[in-house]
């Protein structure tokens, strides 16, 4: 039922992606040589560090969890040709909403609180994203720009709540009061922070895949994404699919943020989710918006992130070299010529 690419098309995509990733790794090595006084140690820390012990490995996998959710959120939207650029604000707001929900019911049983927190996270973020979809449907206001601007405003409002009304004066970081102990997700790979949310992420990827490819709404959504005029002509209610993908996308982003709070931080810390939204876009693009492809793509980004952290601790470079590596993945991931080169090579 899904559009099938030719085998050579798939192969050239894979080869192109491999080139893109190798290039960004090469860039990391080059940067470390330029910036570090002990390049060998730093390079080792960057590439091998994340696998050197259970703590690093588990934390790397744990970073992948929200990336899977944001990547899925973007993939759902992009597959429908709806452009959600508000991921940053939506993850953040989802995390804050989950925190506030938990703070409101400190004595509730663990599962009840977790469920409520995730519902709150998904709802709040779905609503934020849904606004942009609604404006697009109603007045044809560009959802790409409105979702970005709304997200920027929402992030600042979240900052206010985290550092204002909910600020915990007992710690010296800018964060809310911690949520009650029973709401913390079960750790599965101590001493790392990896927790059961990893299973939820895998389940989410499978569910999104089934939804997009096997269901009625998924078919209509994909058709609208491929060609909206064709879909309208075919009798599909097109305007519905300007809003629904936005709501789903927002909800997935919100879940990502909520799970970060329940699983990792047990509080909303100022700026705790920054970067997850933008990187979700890269993850989705590497995965070519395929929900199952989001899993390895998120792991790649988590690896770059973990490598940079490890290089900062075990070497002498700053964490932001990860952004430079990531930016080059962004640069090349849609570079058509790169995939053509691979294709021509194979033909000759």
């Amino acid at each position: 039922m899904k559009g099938r690419q030719s085998a050579s098309g798939v192969l050239s995509t894979v080869m192109g992606l491999a080139l893109t990733i190798l290039f960004s790794f090469g860039l990391v090595i080059l940067l470390i040589f330029l910036l570090s006084k002990m390049p060998a140690k730093t390079i080792y820390a960057f590439f091998i560090g994340p696998f050197s012990n259970k703590y690093y490995l588990g934390n790397m996998l744990n970073v992948a969890v929200p990336l899977i959710f944001t990547g899925l959120g973007i993939a759902v939207a992009f597959k429908s040709s709806v452009f959600n650029l508000g991921g940053e604000g939506q993850v953040y707001a989802g995390g804050l909403a989950a925190t506030i929900a938990c703070l409101a019911i400190p004595h509730a049983p663990g599962l009840v609180g977790m469920a409520l927190a995730l519902v709150a996270a998904a709802t709040v973020s779905a609503a934020i994203a849904g606004f942009s979809g609604f404006f697009r449907m109603k007045w044809d206001a560009d959802e790409m720009i409105s979702s970005f601007l709304l997200s920027a405003a929402v992030a600042l409002v979240c900052n206010y709540f985290i550092t204002g009304p909910f600020d915990d004066p007992n710690n010296n970081i800018l964060s809310t009061y911690p949520i009650a102990k029973q709401f913390g997700l079960l750790k599965i790979f101590p001493p790392s922070k990896l927790n059961v949310s990893a299973f939820l992420a895998i389940a989410a990827a499978i569910l999104v895949y089934i939804f997009m490819n096997k269901t009625h709404a998924g078919y209509e959504m994909r058709m609208c994404g491929l060609n909206r005029e064709f879909s309208r002509y075919g009798g599909i209610k097109v305007s519905r699919y300007l809003v629904l993908p936005m709501i789903l996308s927002g909800a997935l982003h919100g879940l990502g943020g909520g799970l970060m709070v329940l699983g990792t931080y047990q509080a909303a810390i100022k700026g705790f989710s920054f970067g997850m939204g933008w990187n979700g876009i890269a993850v989705a693009l590497i995965a070519r918006n395929n929900p199952l492809g989001v899993l390895p793509a998120a792991l790649l980004f988590a690896y770059l992130d973990a490598g940079a952290k490890s290089a900062m601790l075990g070497g002498d470079v700053t964490f932001e070299i990860a952004s430079i590596a990531q930016s080059f993945i962004f640069y090349l991931v849609t570079a058509q010529a790169l995939y053509d080169i691979v294709r021509k090579r194979r033909r000759a």
């Binding site: 940067l31 910036l35 404006f135 109603k138 007045w139 044809d140 206001a141 560009d142 720009i145 409105s146 970005f148 601007l149 709304l150 920027a152 405003a153 600042l156 409002v157 900052n159 206010y160 550092t163 204002g164 933008w278 876009i281 693009l285 470079v317 700053t318 932001e320 070299i321 990860a322 952004s323 430079i324 990531q326 930016s327 080059f328 962004f330 640069y331 090349l332 991931v333 849609t334 570079a335 058509q336 010529a337 790169l338």
Partner: protein
């Protein structure tokens, strides 16, 4: 400020100052927009200009050399952005994101390497941007004199650039071909011209103006703050649309945004509103403006 200033005069005076980076980035972005490319890299280009201009100004002690280097670095980044987008045929939106991410990562990495901090970097020896001196009788024009004069030279340079860009866009072969590229690139190809050439030119022009905009941000502060551009590139992009893709329209839209920010700066001192809300105000107003514009356009279209 002269003696007859009411409350509103400094408000507007500051708005003229604040709007300048929006306007500069908007004018540059107009060239890419007319060439048919959505340029979201304005933010990153501005950031590169902001960082390198102050670093070079501090290193050389020469303000103009600093600004020139800032502009040059922004144009180099634009060249990277343009080359990957046009030669490797990458999605312009994604490469725009890449440019923003690259600029923010690169500036922090360099700042850390050079100054061993990821926070605010203060520079002591930065000279002030010279203020344009005008004849006394101009300065004494009631209200207007206080609003229009007494700004630094980049403000006036920007006004000149607005005028110049209007001339280039509407009166020269380059402008004609650039606009043709955006409307129907096939036509340009059929005449044996290269649309990519005009698109790259547009990107480089946006690099130039964004470099200048960034320079103004840091040199006025005599400091570099990570992410100092804080969304100005995006707001400039909205100004292009609100300004109906004309240089003077962008100037008006930029002024509105400048006025908003200027007003919120005043409100911050006068009324007790959390600073985060005031920082969010430009975004909220821009969204509101954007949606009102869409509603207006929609009602006109379905009349």
């Amino acid at each position: 400020m002269s003696s007859n200033s009411s409350y509103s005069v400094p408000l507007v005076f500051n708005a003229v100052e604040i709007m300048t980076p929006f306007l500069l980035a908007g004018i540059g972005g107009l060239f890419t927009e007319l060439a048919g490319m959505l340029n979201i890299a304005l933010e990153g280009l501005m950031l590169a200009g902001a960082f390198f201009s102050i670093v070079f100004a501090a290193a050389t002690g020469n303000l103009f050399l600093g600004i020139a280097m800032g502009v040059l670095s922004s144009m180099l980044l634009a060249l990277l952005f343009g080359t990957i987008t046009l030669k490797l045929r990458a999605n312009v939106f994604i490469t725009g994101l890449a440019t923003n991410l690259f600029a923010s990562g690169f500036t922090v990495v360099l700042a850390y390497q050079l100054f061993h901090t990821k926070g605010v970097i203060q520079f002591q020896n930065i000279p002030k941007l010279p203020v344009l001196v005008v004849p006394d009788f101009l300065q004494r024009i009631p209200i207007l004199g206080d609003i229009l004069f007494g700004h630094n030279i980049i403000v006036y340079l920007t006004w000149a650039l607005v005028l110049l860009s209007a001339i280039v866009i509407y009166r020269t072969p380059f402008g004609l071909r650039l606009r043709g590229t955006g409307i129907n690139a096939d036509t340009i190809v059929s005449l044996g011209l290269s649309p990519q050439k005009y698109q790259l030119a547009g990107i480089l022009i946006s690099g130039f103006t964004c470099g200048l905009a960034g320079a103004m941000l840091t040199i006025r502060l005599a400091a570099f703050v990570p992410e100092i551009t804080s969304g100005r590139g995006w707001i400039a992009l909205v100004a292009i649309y609100l300004g109906n893709k004309t240089p003077f329209g962008i100037a008006v839209a930029s002024f509105v945004f400048g006025l908003t920010e200027s007003f919120s700066n005043y409100a911050q001192g006068a009324i007790k509103i959390p600073s985060d809300f005031i920082l969010a105000l430009p975004y909220v107003i821009t969204v509101a403006a954007m949606i009102l514009y869409a509603v207006w356009r929609h009602s006109r279209a379905t009349r």
